[in-house]
Amino acid sequence: MEIGNKLQRNAFTLAVISGCVLLIMLAQFKMINLYVQSVMMFMGINIMIATSLNLVNGNMGEFSCGHAAFLCVGAYVSSLTTVLLLVPNGILGDPLLPPQLSVLVFPISVLVGGVVAALAGILVALPSFKTRGDYLAIITIAVNYMVISGIENLDIIGGPRGFMGMKKVVKAMYDVADIPWMMIFVAIGTIFCVVMIRRYISSTFGKGVNAICQDEIAAEIMSVNTNKVKLVTFMLSSGLCGMAGGLFAHVVGYVNPQSFNILKSTEAMVMVYLGGMGSLSGAVLSAVFFTFLLELLRPLQILKWVIIPLTLVLLMQFRPEGIMGNKELTDIFPKLRKYCRFK
């Protein structure tokens, strides 16, 4: 009886995990081609970006518009780690570790990228103690430019030309065992990210995040340590985004500072506001939808970037709260509550 109840309560989680396993199996037996696989992986990465930004912009009610900076930090740090350790490169020459270890080093490098990105998040978190709203928005934009400009000036890692060599790392992983490694890691990363955020928001400490969004002064009076909550939230958000960056770099196999500019930040914002501010399931759904939209509009080339902003402008006019509008799936379909717990 007890087991049956538990099964029912976590049915949704199990369904998601088994769906991921199914996709990986399909990829393993070549049932879905590489293009579909890459779209799936971008979907996962976009889910990570959207949910992590949603934590700051939706749940905490700040207005961060330089999220790509952390993506950039994560991408560069994790790429540097794997390339320096595993494949012959122009910086250190010979690799430090045998390529068989790539399967172990890659996830660690993604985590390291996340940690460094979280530290970069302090750049935004500290000013947020004093100011919020528009001024904080400026600071995030400035941080975005600073990170890109800083990396462009580091000639040792390629500067504006970008950095490559991750393809070899991924190839080394496939040499260890021929299973779709990248799919697996992206799936793990995505699930990890969503679960982390969900648990964080529903924790006692995380209730402070929503309290800050409602009314910062009142939250401070009601004994929410606003500075601490802000620091942790910004760091968590940028850390998870940094992990997404690490995965992104290895999926694409090449990073370039300009691919993390304001446009990328805008993409992240579009996903958040499309999904609905402060709605985790909304962010996930809109990330999936947005990735599809990008792929559908690919033949239109530059017109894509007219249509997407136009969609958002119309959305703001007619349904400003986004697809979900601050509600979770369970609020819309109460029957789902039997199968999963969002709160």
Binding site: F63, C65, L126, P127, K130, T131, D134, Y135, A137, I138, I139, I141, A142, V143, Y145, M146, S149, G150, E152, N153, G159, P160, I217, A218, I262, L263, T266, M269, Y273, I302, L303, W305, V306, I308, P309, L310, L312, V313, M316, Q317, P320
Partner: protein, 302 residues
């Protein structure tokens, strides 16, 4: 010494562009408390409008360059102001009427900027436009320091625009209405002040001077491309914030400050470092004074 003076003149010119664009940001923010993120792209549209106006005047009408310039300045300003007002009409006003959250308006502004950039790219293609020469470049030499007439025009124009706006905002009835709206937008309609008219006027001023900046920019650096407004716009906006957004003097000072910082960095360090240093210094200023140099903190009442 000569090098220093030369750099100061360059910084003044560079700062003039920033100041002109920052003034537009500040005007709109001062009245609506809205970051008009599309303003940098309105500047870009202004440069393109100037290009087409000048091509028409020189090519099809065959006017002399001097006459063309005299006609191009008001025409560009009027047409760009139309673009700004249209944007306000179709994008911002409906949201304001609904009393939408400020954030939605900001996002709409951001997206409108993207639409302008990429719409331009889709319409006119990626080929860069070469702006025709309107003024014979004359160079005045004082020892080793050289000043072109265009530089002088830009600097003088920025100062004149600043004085004009300062006069409008502090000494006229419309300026008083503007300040009133930013002070209390609920009481102002009760005083018989047409809020929408004032807001449209604000957009006319801001966008018109963005158009002027576009024309002057195209005259100084005669290569136009759709993304030229994005970076300059962001930077001018940050300059406005550092000066204290919503304050005309702040925008002016912030713009020139950013110009001096950038030219100073380029004079000492490699030029790729420009953005890094500029943004870092601005961040430090904002850390020390979160509301900018002239800005006043708005106290929240509980």
């Amino acid at each position: 010494m000569e090098v220093l003076i030369q750099n100061i003149i360059n910084a003044l010119q560079w700062g003039s562009f920033y100041a002109l664009i920052a003034l537009g940001y500040t005007l709109v923010y001062g009245v609506l408390l809205l970051i008009n993120f599309a303003h940098g792209d309105i500047f870009m549209v202004g440069a393109y409008i100037a290009f087409f106006v000048v091509i028409t005047l020189l090519g099809t009408m065959g006017l002399a360059p001097g006459v063309a310039l005299a006609l191009a300045v008001p025409l560009t300003m009027i047409l760009t102001a139309c673009v700004g007002v249209t944007l306000e009409r179709i994008a911002y006003r409906p949201l304001r009427r609904k009393g939408a959250h400020r954030l939605y308006v900001v996002i709409t502004a951001l997206m409108c900027g993207l639409i302008l950039e990429n719409g331009n790219l889709a319409l006119l293609g990626a080929s860069r436009k070469k702006f025709p020469e309107l003024l014979e470049t004359t160079v005045y030499r004082f020892g080793d320091v050289s000043v072109t007439n265009i530089k002088l025009i830009v600097i003088v124009a920025a100062i004149l625009v600043f004085l004009f706006l300062h006069f409008v905002v502090t000494r006229t009835k419309i300026g008083m209405a503007m300040r009133g709206i930013s002070y209390d937008k609920f009481a102002i309609p009760l005083m018989g002040i047409p809020v929408d008219t004032i807001i449209v006027f604000t957009f006319i001023l801001g966008s018109g001077f963005a158009g002027l900046a576009g024309l002057l920019f195209a005259m100084s650096y005669p290569v136009l491309e759709p993304y030229m407004g994005a970076l300059i716009g962001w930077k001018a906006f940050i300059a406005a914030v550092v000066g204290g957004i919503g304050d005309i003097r702040g925008a002016f000072v912030g713009g020139f400050l950013l110009g001096f910082i950038e030219i100073g960095v380029v004079a000492v360090f490699p030029s790729t470092m420009r953005d890094l240093f500029a943004f870092t210094i601005l961040l430090m200023i904002l850390w020390a004074k979160p509301t900018g140099l002239f800005g006043r903190a708005r106290h929240q009442k509980i």
